[in-house]
Subunit: 264 residues, 5 copies
Amino acid sequence: MPSMRYVAIVMALIALGLDGIVLPGASAMERDKLLSDPGVYGTFAAFQIDDEWRRLDQKTRQAHLSALKGVVERHKDKLAIDTYLLRGLSDHADFLFRLHSTDLKDNQQFLVDVLATPFGQYLSSQTIFNGMSKKANYVPGFPDQMKADLKVPSDSGTYVAVIPIRKDADWWMLPQDKRQAMMQEHTEAALPYHKTVKRKLYHSTGLDDFDFITYFETARPEDLHSLILALSKVKEAHHNKRFGHPTLVGTIRSLDQLIEVFGQ
Amino acid sequence: MPSMRYVAIVMALIALGLDGIVLPGASAMERDKLLSDPGVYGTFAAFQIDDEWRRLDQKTRQAHLSALKGVVERHKDKLAIDTYLLRGLSDHADFLFRLHSTDLKDNQQFLVDVLATPFGQYLSSQTIFNGMSKKANYVPGFPDQMKADLKVPSDSGTYVAVIPIRKDADWWMLPQDKRQAMMQEHTEAALPYHKTVKRKLYHSTGLDDFDFITYFETARPEDLHSLILALSKVKEAHHNKRFGHPTLVGTIRSLDQLIEVFGQ
Amino acid sequence: MPSMRYVAIVMALIALGLDGIVLPGASAMERDKLLSDPGVYGTFAAFQIDDEWRRLDQKTRQAHLSALKGVVERHKDKLAIDTYLLRGLSDHADFLFRLHSTDLKDNQQFLVDVLATPFGQYLSSQTIFNGMSKKANYVPGFPDQMKADLKVPSDSGTYVAVIPIRKDADWWMLPQDKRQAMMQEHTEAALPYHKTVKRKLYHSTGLDDFDFITYFETARPEDLHSLILALSKVKEAHHNKRFGHPTLVGTIRSLDQLIEVFGQ
Amino acid sequence: MPSMRYVAIVMALIALGLDGIVLPGASAMERDKLLSDPGVYGTFAAFQIDDEWRRLDQKTRQAHLSALKGVVERHKDKLAIDTYLLRGLSDHADFLFRLHSTDLKDNQQFLVDVLATPFGQYLSSQTIFNGMSKKANYVPGFPDQMKADLKVPSDSGTYVAVIPIRKDADWWMLPQDKRQAMMQEHTEAALPYHKTVKRKLYHSTGLDDFDFITYFETARPEDLHSLILALSKVKEAHHNKRFGHPTLVGTIRSLDQLIEVFGQ
Amino acid sequence: MPSMRYVAIVMALIALGLDGIVLPGASAMERDKLLSDPGVYGTFAAFQIDDEWRRLDQKTRQAHLSALKGVVERHKDKLAIDTYLLRGLSDHADFLFRLHSTDLKDNQQFLVDVLATPFGQYLSSQTIFNGMSKKANYVPGFPDQMKADLKVPSDSGTYVAVIPIRKDADWWMLPQDKRQAMMQEHTEAALPYHKTVKRKLYHSTGLDDFDFITYFETARPEDLHSLILALSKVKEAHHNKRFGHPTLVGTIRSLDQLIEVFGQ
């Protein structure tokens, strides 16, 4: 019974004097800025938990996980920290951190500190993507109606997909107006899903092996499917040299929920 | 002597108070709907069992496997759970779960709970595919005779193959009528094997690194071979950017049969 | 001194009451049929032995290997079982089973039973190919002289290579007569090596990630080299999308010889 | 509290009689020559630290790391040794050595000696690149203004990226003047970032699987991103057969700082 | 201090009664023939040493390594055995054996016997290439001056690179005279480095996944670089479907020198 396990864990944390911690992340206002401003660095770090972790007794695992909470607490003024459960929907990875900060070093330091915890001893780093938010390249040139449509807020949801993209050399050599036209077609194809699939774009050229890290949140995986399918049918898709590989799919979970899963 | 081993295991389960469990899966009716309705999520999860598992004594292994049965039991109202033995026909994987539910989260939660069992401590997640069933795209445009032929029920069988497919960018940019024509040619090529090879299609664009997960059941592997060969000879096959890699091949086994194999 | 080690092993087997076992494989006649008939399933399974195996004391290893002999014995009525030593000529693999049966399930069950032995606890499954024998596609259309030449029996030898092949989409879309002409050119190029290199072809489309598994036996690796080189120079080779990767190279060894190597 | 941990480590080192060591690298003058002269060999070696390391007690880890300092000390007259933290920004690697010497053997011997330390027992070698510095191929043919602009010193910074590049066969077959023109366009695109991104080029054809190892230092990752993006938009980029895979991203850390991180 | 370690090891070997062994390889004359005759089989086997090896005490490691010397001794009449240190210049591999014999089986048996030693328990086989020497294909058609230039003996040196090559289908389908012309251009490009870079070519089509294994020895890595660069600029390079991946780079070390490195 998860609920009972959860009570047990919370009581253990209280015993450890960690009750009352509000987790995760920076204050609401700072968090909003980090998630909306340009020039913010995003790091996606997917970890796999070693078998040996699962062979520790529950008490030890819970103590180790409470130390993890301490690390998140220590960093939450500088970082927006989001946590996801990948286990069961992505292979070779159990959970994902998405980190936002104005200084890429702070993302690194958080992960270094996580790996220095007793829990960290059981983690292997499977996939790391680095990217940054930038002012929209093409939106300024879009028709007013499209601009307005894009201003409508998107709904979030439990499901998350992270898809890295590498464009081909031809793409980058196209004149701006050609890319502008293609991105307008791309955006028209995406608009029907704008309300039910929340998207965020990270530019990663030079910061990892990809050009873009595309991030999606939705309550309706079928709409995520339809969106990516629609985007496969526009000319710009011809210039995707690599799309996914890996595609990370999972669900949004609070740190406490992850602790419940891995503390079992 | 398998039969004797089996008796031993069943007796152990009885001792554990787990006799009388009817496994696996949802009620027959719900199961049929999950396997035939559009908008259902399918997750394929192939696992490899660590060496250390095989070094546990038989009693411990059987106790661990009985806990696995409990997890399947707990989830069988929400999920249709199918189990397959890959060991011996696919490399780097021992068994496969195929899960169907109306909510992708339920597939994930089942696998999370499986990995939280003592048996789960010895599993590594090798391949996970996610897809969804959809109304047929092209069938409505087929000639009536072909529609009728497709209505004839297919026979199942022991053998199973799961082949993921990624289409190229040209495919998605073709006008609907061109794809319609190619898919009619594709279907004509497949019809001779319609009776002896049971097929199910999952759409996975945006849900993993592929566009389709194709699933096959047959009593005649030679017909599976002839079917895939016939499908290699139609124009649509030119648009398969990736076909297989991995191809999962195995046999249908009940959970009890898997438990017999891995409890040995 | 291998010979002395061998005596020690045989004596251990006698002590275990396993003397007098004639191994491996089905009766000579059944074996010949399985190796020559169409519609027979061939499975190639290459295994790597874990480091821990080599750290067991010799006595334990010999006892474990004798249990392996028991499994081969149990299956030899249904299967033709061939064994090969890959260690030293192929990386990441130590030995290979080639299995033939009229029912693919029987190949799987044999490997499942091997992995259930104490020796099996130390094996990891590196590469598995599945294929089937079929009536010759193109030979009936060859000139009589070529047909006659192909009837001359080939010599076997110690050396073995297994090369999987994936054809490109164009190949399968070629009309039969075009493929017939190319395969005649292919066969002409191969004929000079027909006597000294024994070949067997397995069709694997739909049964694994390849279209063909090509198997070669020879006493003269230089002729194997010359044969593959000659086959690289004909038009049909243009349609090999993948050739090898992996190429398995090794030597024919009886089960007793493998036991001697791994029991050391 | 890192600072306190650091004190603890330094005290441990003092206790071990290793205080007063000035690390890392050759004398300032020799270092400058090694980093600026042509004909110098650069080796990049990225290591991952095994889980077991993290399970050692802190005292043992610190003693092991002090031995590492001894090795660096022993080699610092022959080598320029730079150290970087990859953990948290690159997957499957924890730290990176960049070594410069006039004799490639000296780079090898240093790494051999590192792996022979107690710390080395816990390292696995993930990525090694070898390259050499050469006189500029194309700069002599550039306009005087561009030559002058390139003479302006670049600022360093905390962030580092190492991107290996493989050119296609067409590139090498182009006449020198065509490559000269393309490299001038390449350099024009790079100039705006010349001040804030420090670059160094290593030629690696024949010394590893790449043609060039490109190395970047900056305080502004956004400028590194803009630079690589600008370089993606020139014709020469069409001839990059492989770019990255892996891209190593990290931060400059002194050996003492790495010891603090891994001694935690 | 290596020298002292070396003394310690030699004394240990004397204590083990292994002093006075002259290692490695066949008699000088036989060795010369094996390295120059056509029809000789070359096997390259690169091994990685497990972490656990490095955790053994020095005495045990030295005893284990002395057993390795015994194996080399036993085989040296049939084989020419060369040893190389890859650690520090190639990733995922520590050392390399290059074996020559007139019977490929003998190369295999040597490696099987190495893996059967106590040291062998700690080795994993990372890369194995098999090839054979053949009479020069194209040299007979070269101009007399070029033939004469090629007769000048090349200098050896400490550095070694092994680069496997796969040609494309077009290459093999070219008429002999076209390939002859391209290989003459190839050889012209290589001649300037003929004196300082010693080369040996192995034909591996059908014996592994490549067509050629190219082997280089030099005292001047910069010349190795210049040679491979020059070979990249001729038309024949257009037909390299794969070049390297992996490229093995290391230094020549006697068995005693390897034992010193790994016995540390």
